[in-house]
Each structure stands twice: as structure tokens, then as C-alpha cells.
């Protein structure tokens, strides 16, 4: 399913957060969104998910505007995983994943064996099936994030939006969650803060000060010169001797200068 945004604009108290962003995400694509803190990634994600109404512009799912679609219909097509949604309730893992079925259920079509099957499948695909009866508050951050992804998968979405899914997680969970997301067949938009993780995307969009300043393949975008301009750090590329893939290395601008100075001396 195709996800298209045209001229999205959103500002808070006259301060533009996202201005005039247009992007077209192809069916089945994994699209990465990168940019410094405060560049408007999360706000853009919320508009793409239909949670914030754009002050200008439209978001279309397969050509149909989200404005003309009910919350329930949106949820049947598009699932959104927020950054670290938390709860105080004594809820179980299975309960949390079952919430994903909300958009498919009604008084006329109550919970059925089919729903249980979907929830089981979602739990298995994030490798949390064996923990289905664990309490939410006993889970680690990585496990909670996997449960949120399972909840999103239980919606059987065609489009999956993830806002920094690996934020604050141990490195092992970062790798496993990103691998999981890469393997999904759905159209995926993922906001990332680790630029090395962005290599796994099909295409990358770069946000800076509320604008989408570049869209392209990882090879086109993840170049030291360009990243230095956007993020204000020194970037070097290294080659991983194990698999020959490019890896980015970062230094602060001042230490980079120091380094050059030393070379001069």
C-alpha cells in the first residue's frame, strides 16, 4: 500500500515544526527518516499516522485522504508504534497485543478463534510467544518494544510506522528489532536516530529544521560531506573488515579540528 504526503505543514504557536513536506512511499518499501533532534521527525510521523491533523496539506493512503477515513478504517490499514508508550496498569503481554485487534472487532463481530490465531502469530513473529502471560511491568525495555510491534502487527496493517523503535534499547535489542522490521513485507516508515542503522532502508528521507531536505538511497544520502552539514559533526566512513560494508564513524567538529591540527604539527 502506497503512503503519500503532500505539502504537510504543522506549527505550534507560530513556530513551524514541519513545513511543506512532501514524500511518496512506495508499496512494500522500507523508508528511513533521519534528522537531528527537533527536526520534526516525530511530528511528521504523527501526521502520517493520522494522529495529528496537518494544518496544511494531505496524507493519502492508496490515493484516499486520511481526512475522509474513520479512525477505525485507518487502523485496519496503518499501524503506528510510538516511542516508548507506557502504562501503570497490571496488564499482561497477551492483553497488550490483543489491543491491536480493536479495529477489527465490534458488537456484531466479537472476539473469535481467528483473532486468537492472529495474536499468537504476532507474538511468535517478535519472539514473545513464550512470554505471553508475563506482566507488562516485569518486561525489559526491548521486550516492551517488541510487544508494541506485535500489537501493531496484530492490526494486520499494510503500512507500519515506527518512531525511533530502537531508542534507549540495549544493542542486542537494537539489532534484533531492526532485523525484524527489515524482514516485514509491509510498507514501513521508520524514524531512526542511529545513522548506521539507516543503511538497512531502501530509501532515506532527511529532515532538517522542519523541511525534508533530501530523499534518496542510503548510498546517495549517507555521505560524510552531506551528513556533516546536517548533523554538525565530523563523519568518516570505514569499511567493516568482516563483511565489506560501509560504517560511519562520528567525531565532534572541534575534536576533528584538533586532529587535523596535530597532523599539521
Amino acid at each position: 500500500m502506497k503512503l503519500e504526503a503532500q505539502n504537510l505543514t504543522w506549527s505550534a504557536r507560530q513556530l513551524p515544526i514541519v513545513s511543506d513536506v512532501s514524500v511518496s512511499i512506495k508499496s512494500g518499501e522500507m523508508f528511513g527518516l533521519i534528522g537531528p533532534n527537533g527536526s520534526g521527525k516525530s511530528t511528521l510521523m504523527r501526521m502520517l499516522a493520522g494522529l495529528s491533523k496537518p494544518q496544511k496539506g494531505v496524507v493519502e493512503l492508496d490515493g484516499i485522504s486520511l481526512k475522509q477515513t474513520s479512525r477505525r478504517q485507518i487502523a485496519q490499514k496503518l499501524a503506528f508504534v510510538e516511542q516508548q508508550a507506557e502504562t501503570q496498569d497490571l496488564i499482561k503481554v497477551r492483553d497488550a497485543v490483543e489491543l491491536g485487534r480493536t479495529c477489527w472487532l465490534s458488537a456484531i463481530s466479537p472476539w473469535s478463534a481467528h483473532d486468537t490465531y492472529i495474536v499468537d502469530t504476532a507474538l511468535r513473529s517478535v519472539d514473545m510467544y513464550h512470554m505471553a502471560n508475563r506482566s507488562w511491568h516485569t518486561l525489559s525495555g526491548g521486550e516492551r518494544q517488541r510487544v508494541h510491534i506485535a500489537r501493531a502487527l496484530a492490526q494486520e496493517p499494510s503500512v507500519l510506522l515506527l518512531d525511533e523503535p530502537t531508542n534507549h534499547l540495549d544493542i542486542s535489542y537494537q539489532v534484533s528489532i531492526l532485523d525484524l522490521v527489515t524482514q516485514l513485507d509491509t510498507t514501513t516508515v521508520v524514524a531512526l536516530h542511529d545513522l548506521n542503522q539507516a543503511f538497512k532502508c531502501d530509501r532515506i528521507g532527511v529532515m532538517q529544521a522542519g523541511k525534508m531536505i533530501a530523499i534518496g538511497t542510503p548510498e546517495e544520502i549517507l555521505k560524510p560531506k552531506f551528513l556533516e552539514e546536517v548533523f554538525g559533526v565530523c563523519v568518516h566512513t570505514l569499511i567493516d573488515p568482516n563483511n565489506g560494508k560501509t560504517v560511519l564513524s562520528f567525531h565532534s567538529v572541534s575534536s576533528g579540528r584538533e586532529h587535523n591540527m596535530r597532523q599539521v604539527i
Binding site: R71, R72, Q73, E82, A96, L99
Partner: protein, 351 residues
């Protein structure tokens, strides 16, 4: 990703009769509590007399029983017990709804400013003489509750950016303070000592004036309210991770919030206008129910309704018999039981 392809299991749909056990047990518990409410009091009346009275009144069975007993049962204790049960169920379910929607474990129906507004309305009518006798105290209380709610909701709306739930709690506190101050002002300005004592009783909850007329309002309103809330059980579950998460799984959050908060406000306003403001039921019963059946609203809503109903009928019995020859305000009983119960829940919840 699992590599094995699992085929979807085909499960024969048969009705599981054991699912009826708990609802039936709940209904039996309510009837048992009401029966206890009929039997226990200043004069003890046997269960057989109680059944005979009901048969006489409902089917003109013509049993020969003491007319005074029959009068006490039918005109006084039965309406009182039914209103107590309705009120308990309504307040408990309102508490469940508000704790879920506002995501605040300390939310109770009075956080919307309803109780404070009702008090102001009641003292305006009974003490300040508002309406010149044309409106009753309960009408005044109902009006006050609704006005307070509209002010609190308006304030919450004006103050809300994205954190609407937190704003509601703060707006409720502000509104409650304002109306409580107004109530105190009116009492201080114009009440005699006797009036002040009377209003004090009313503010702490009082079922003494309850008659059949009140049953006709309270019982259908409570049943309908609980039923509508029950229909929204799945939506309420979805609020577990906040309003954004609820919207993400397909809940029309605005519509659900407005519908359910309005129903809660209406339920509470009607109950407060009949019996005064009875504290702790809306706060403690939802927690007790969660302790028994967990956080899923499909089980939580009926459980809270049943426990609330039974608890308030029993609390009323205690209020009537604990001091011989005197009826305690029921709010005193619910607070005396509720506060320690809440403490226990808090401590157990930590473990």
C-alpha cells in the same frame, strides 16, 4: 520470524455455560444484600415477612402480615436498598471510566467537580432560598452538578494542548475548590446552626429521604449507564497506553471521551442529587474490582458495578444500626471502610 507455517486451528463453537457462573453469582449477591437491607434495622423483620410483603405489593397475594412491618419494608427499606444499590453501581462504574480515560489511579467521579457543584446547588436552594421554594433541593443539586461540570469541562478544553487528561484533573480540582468555597460562603452567610447541621448530613450522603419516586429515576439510569459503558469496554482497554495508542488501534478517541465522560457526569449528578455526595465508592471499588478480576474492562465493569452495589447496600445497613436510635450519614461509613481498604490496596499493589 518463525519458519514453520502454522495452519489456523478450527475450533468448534459451543457455548461455555461456566461463563455464566460469575454474572449469576453477582446478581445473587446483589439480591442477598438487598434482602439483608430489608431484614436488618431498628426492628428486625424475617425474610419470610419480606417475601410476603413483596408478594402482597406486586401480585396482591393477600398474605396476612403486620401492616407496620409491611409499611417499613415497602415504603422505607426496599426503595432505600434499591437506590443504594443503583448508586453504588453507578459511582463505581463512573470511577472505572474516569480512571481509564484520565489514566489516573486517583480519579473518582467527584474529580469532575460534580459533588462540589451539587453541594452549592443544594445549599443555594435550601439555605439561600434560591427558587423561592419552587425547586427541590435535589433539583438544585442536579443543576449545580451539571453547571460545575460544564465549567470544569470548558476550563479543561481551554487549557488543553495535547495532554488533555492531565488538564481535566487540574481543572476538576480548580472547579471543586471554587464550588466548595461558594458552599462554605453561603452556609457561613445565611445558615442557622440547625440548617448547617442538616446540610452537613446531606453533604456526607443521606439515604433517609429516599422513596419510590427516587427508585424510578435511579435504577433505570444506573442500569442504562452501566450498560452503555459496558459496550465501550474494548475502547476503554485501548486507553491503557494513552490516547495516541488508543487512536492508533482504531478508537475514535474524541467521540468515546465525550460520550463516556458525559454519561459519567450525568450518572454522578443524578446520584448526588438523590443521596448527596458519598465518598470513596468511586475511588476504592474500581481498585478492589481490578484486584479481583484484572484490568480488562469486559470483566472489570460488571464486577465493579456488582461490588459497588453490594457495598453501598451493606454500608447503609451499618449506617442505620451502628448507633442505636440514630442514623449515621452513609458517607461516614464508606469513608471509614474505604480509607483503610484503600491503604491496603496501595500496599498490596506495591508488592
Amino acid at each position: 520470524m518463525t519458519t514453520t507455517v502454522e495452519t489456523e486451528p478450527v475450533i468448534q463453537k459451543t457455548f461455555d455455560w461456566s461463563r455464566l457462573y460469575w454474572p449469576l453469582a453477582g446478581i445473587v449477591a446483589i439480591f442477598a444484600a438487598i434482602l439483608a437491607g430489608l431484614m436488618i434495622g431498628e426492628t428486625q423483620i424475617s425474610a419470610i415477612t419480606a417475601f410476603k410483603t413483596i408478594a402482597n405489593k406486586m401480585w396482591s397475594a393477600g398474605y396476612d402480615i403486620d401492616l407496620i412491618d409491611q409499611g417499613i419494608l415497602w415504603e422505607y427499606r426496599l426503595p432505600r436498598a434499591i437506590v443504594a444499590a443503583s448508586c453504588g453501581a453507578a459511582l463505581a462504574v463512573s470511577g472505572v471510566v474516569l480512571q481509564a480515560l484520565l489514566r489516573n489511579a486517583l480519579a473518582d467521579p467527584y474529580i469532575l467537580g460534580l459533588s462540589a457543584g451539587a453541594s452549592t446547588g443544594a445549599v443555594l436552594v435550601s439555605i439561600a432560598g434560591f427558587g423561592a421554594g419552587a425547586i427541590s433541593m435535589s433539583t438544585g443539586a442536579f443543576g449545580g452538578a451539571i453547571i460545575a461540570f460544564i465549567i470544569v469541562a470548558g476550563l479543561a478544553k481551554l487549557a488543553s494542548g495535547r495532554g488533555g487528561a492531565a488538564q481535566f484533573v487540574l481543572a476538576g480540582i480548580a472547579g471543586s475548590q471554587l464550588f466548595n468555597a461558594l458552599t462554605s460562603f453561603i452556609i457561613a452567610k445565611s445558615a442557622s446552626a440547625d440548617q448547617a447541621r442538616g446540610i452537613m448530613f446531606w453533604l456526607l450522603g443521606n439515604l433517609s429521604g429516599v422513596r419510590w419516586f427516587d427508585v424510578v429515576t435511579a435504577a433505570p439510569v444506573a442500569l442504562l449507564g452501566v450498560f452503555i459503558v459496558f459496550l465501550h469496554a474494548r475502547s476503554l482497554d485501548a486507553f491503557t497506553f494513552g490516547t495516541d495508542a488508543a487512536a492508533s488501534v482504531g478508537v475514535a478517541i474524541r467521540r468515546v471521551q465525550i460520550t463516556l465522560i458525559s454519561i459519567t457526569a450525568l450518572l454522578t449528578a443524578i446520584m448526588v442529587s438523590i443521596v448527596g455526595s458519598i465518598g470513596f465508592v468511586g475511588l476504592v471499588i474500581p481498585h478492589a474490582a481490578r484486584y479481583l478480576v484484572g484490568v480488562r474492562h469486559k470483566a472489570l465493569i460488571p464486577t465493579a458495578a456488582i461490588i459497588g452495589a453490594v457495598f453501598l447496600v451493606l454500608a447503609d445497613i451499618v449506617a442505620r444500626v451502628i448507633i442505636p436510635g440514630q442514623v449515621l450519614p452513609i458517607g461516614v461509613v464508606t469513608a471509614l471502610v474505604g480509607a483503610p481498604a484503600f491503604a491496603i490496596i496501595l500496599i498490596k499493589g506495591q508488592r
